[in-house]
């Protein structure tokens, strides 16, 4: 199912996109740092995986719906 890919596969680094030049005053060093820290922060949570409560939630919902 291709949908899952969107989140899993990273879009190109936004700092590399043409649009990224819209702020010529923005230093490349700082821009790169922003991108890295943003992803680091986000990926730290992503790396925690799927907490059990969400698997249990789906199981429960499916059981309910079977009735």
């Amino acid at each position: 199912m291709k949908n899952r890919k969107t989140v899993a596969s990273r879009a190109p680094d936004p700092s590399q996109e043409p649009d990224g030049n819209a702020n010529p005053s923005l230093g490349g060093e700082i821009r790169g740092k922003i991108g890295r820290q943003l992803r680091e922060m986000y990926d730290d949570v992503v790396a925690q995986g799927v907490p059990d409560r969400f698997v249990e939630l789906l199981n429960r919902l499916e059981k309910q719906n079977e009735k």
């Binding site: 199912m1 899952r4 700082i30 949570v45 969400f54």
Partner: protein, 183 residues
């Protein structure tokens, strides 16, 4: 109704990113997890309105974002945690020096207006295209682009102030000098 196994798998696969997005919106892990739970409930109740073949994770992000927005309007004052609980959500703490820098970054991120922050996260961290982010936020692609740009500019300003204070006042010059390098 038994969930289509591929849908079930795709929903679960989206959970880690939904949590990361929810934490970045709410700044609070517990509330973020409640938000994700509510999102999954809504999604499964309304699964028939999901069009197969379209982007499931974008659909889930849209639900989560709308839930957050409607809740946010109700409890505007308690929402922005900013710094504290974010740190608690992070298991792998980097080195001491990097940690300070990281905390500064989160503090700067928390100072952004929420529409700019969500646009930056969706495009810069979740990996959505500008078009997908626009769909999730219910606005024009140009709006997303300008929000992302403003967010980056503002963050850079906030972080320049933090990191370049030691080097004297002329950070505009410094920014230009370092402008050649790209990440």
């Amino acid at each position: 109704m038994k969930l289509d196994p591929s849908i079930r798998e795709a929903v679960l696969a989206a959970v880690p990113s939904l949590r990361a997005f929810a934490i970045s919106l709410s700044g609070n892990v517990d509330r973020a997890d409640d938000l994700v739970q509510e999102t999954l409930l809504r999604a499964l109740v309304n699964i028939d309105s999901f069009e197969p073949g379209t982007n499931l994770s974008a659909w889930l992000f849209t639900i989560l974002r709308n839930l957050f927005r409607s809740e946010y309007r109700k409890r505007r004052r308690e929402v922005e945690d900013g710094d504290g609980t974010y740190a608690e959500s992070l298991k792998s703490q980097p080195e001491q020096e990097a940690r300070v820098e990281f905390r500064e970054f989160r503090a700067a991120l928390a100072k952004l207006p929420s529409d700019q922050r969500e646009a930056l996260i969706l495009v810069g961290a979740s990996g959505f295209s500008y078009e997908e982010a626009a769909g999730i936020c219910g606005c024009a692609v140009g709006t997303i682009k300008s929000r992302v740009n403003r967010a980056r500019t503002r963050l850079a300003e906030l972080m320049s102030i933090e990191s370049l204070d030691d080097f004297g006042p002329d950070r505009a010059t410094r920014a230009v000098l370092s402008g050649g390098e790209r990440s």
